[in-house]
Symmetry: C2
Amino acid sequence: MPYRGDVTIVAEAAIPSRRELNKAATREAIATAALELLRAKGMNGFTADDVANAAGVSRRTFFNYFSSPEAAIASFTQKYLDTVIEQLLLRPRDEALLESAQHALTAVEPKDLATLAETFALTQGDAQLSRFQLEAWDNCSSKIITAIGSRLGGLDAAGAAPGSTPLDANGELYLHALVQSVIACGRAAVEVWFRRHGEDISPASLAQLRELLVSAIGHLRTGFHS
Amino acid sequence: MPYRGDVTIVAEAAIPSRRELNKAATREAIATAALELLRAKGMNGFTADDVANAAGVSRRTFFNYFSSPEAAIASFTQKYLDTVIEQLLLRPRDEALLESAQHALTAVEPKDLATLAETFALTQGDAQLSRFQLEAWDNCSSKIITAIGSRLGGLDAAGAAPGSTPLDANGELYLHALVQSVIACGRAAVEVWFRRHGEDISPASLAQLRELLVSAIGHLRTGFHS
DNA sequence: CTCACTCCTTGCACTCACTGCATAACTTGC
DNA sequence: GCAAGTTATGCAGTGAGTGCAAGGAGTGAG
């Protein structure tokens, strides 16, 4: 195994420096430590101090990475949703958004889906934790909207329009309503899944979750006519 | 003006006792005090102590009513959404849900819509406050789902089914996806409105907000086909 | 009216989340 | 290996949020 030091290859996504690696590592350590404490003692069963100790960093460092213990937990949901966004942006541009969403939601590692499901289950019962989860889903909406918005027409966020025609009010509403509905259906699927399967994280159960996700978006595609 | 003391009439909604009136009054006082402080100094510009003093109660009493200053602010959004739910449940049962939603969203006092808009505007920029707003919208989803769920078929929440057939997994997903999408479209409308009109709470601006609300739900009705 | 009862308010004390600042440890480019 | 920039940590301070026990106001029966 030659060249163990600074690895050269992998041209993708820029070479992470040691600093960046360290930061990512401690961030990871803190988040997983928080998750394990949550598993073991439930929220309110541990403090920010405990998380810091378990992760092998000082309390102050903990707060350099996360604004609260809840934020550390919610980072897993964030991460899952970020990978979904990645997948979404990889889809062909001319594909219908709802179809892209169906593909993106299911094109993630089973492991990531599992932690999404688990954190969702563990989240039930703690108000503040739930709020952070909601925030994660909402952030996802915003990111997608900005991405799609800048893709077609002027920048969606306040900023100079580069070339094409900026979105009019109707188009903007359409985009926002569509994306937020997609996210809403995603959450609905997870919710229904949890009601049915509780804390069961088995592959079979996760397969059901996938199915629910697809089928929730499917309802959006075919429309609601009750 | 005879009988100024204990008024007898108004058979609707039970006679509120003096205790209940007092509680409602202090709750109201605290909430409005919080809102005024928010208007004047922005979030982070005041403490729970300040709110309590402004409302003429002790700090401890403040926390008897709200778990945090943010919760006090979010109570306005809660209230607005609760009246929407009321309106929604007043609609004929055989009406399509999406149509009911359009009516319910616009059948509220202009004043309430104004405070919804204002608190939304004031909320921008504070993370914790935003989370509480999200929670309010999400609570609204849950309430509607439970209401509709118990209306058709067995209780949606875990509980004994009274008479009719309980919802199967598909029906449950359908219901959740639909309701959460409606709420999502509501939020989307407010968001787009805010982007266009900023802090403008004039009647004309609010009329536009109403229009956006209806038209967002309209998108759900006609379906998304981009 | 008044006495007992219940619920609400308040002050006190305590834990812990979160932040600014100053200092030590570490990375990086030279 | 040295100077510069970053990150980790310790310290101290503010303020959120809670349990507890004492005082006060609304309630109901006699």
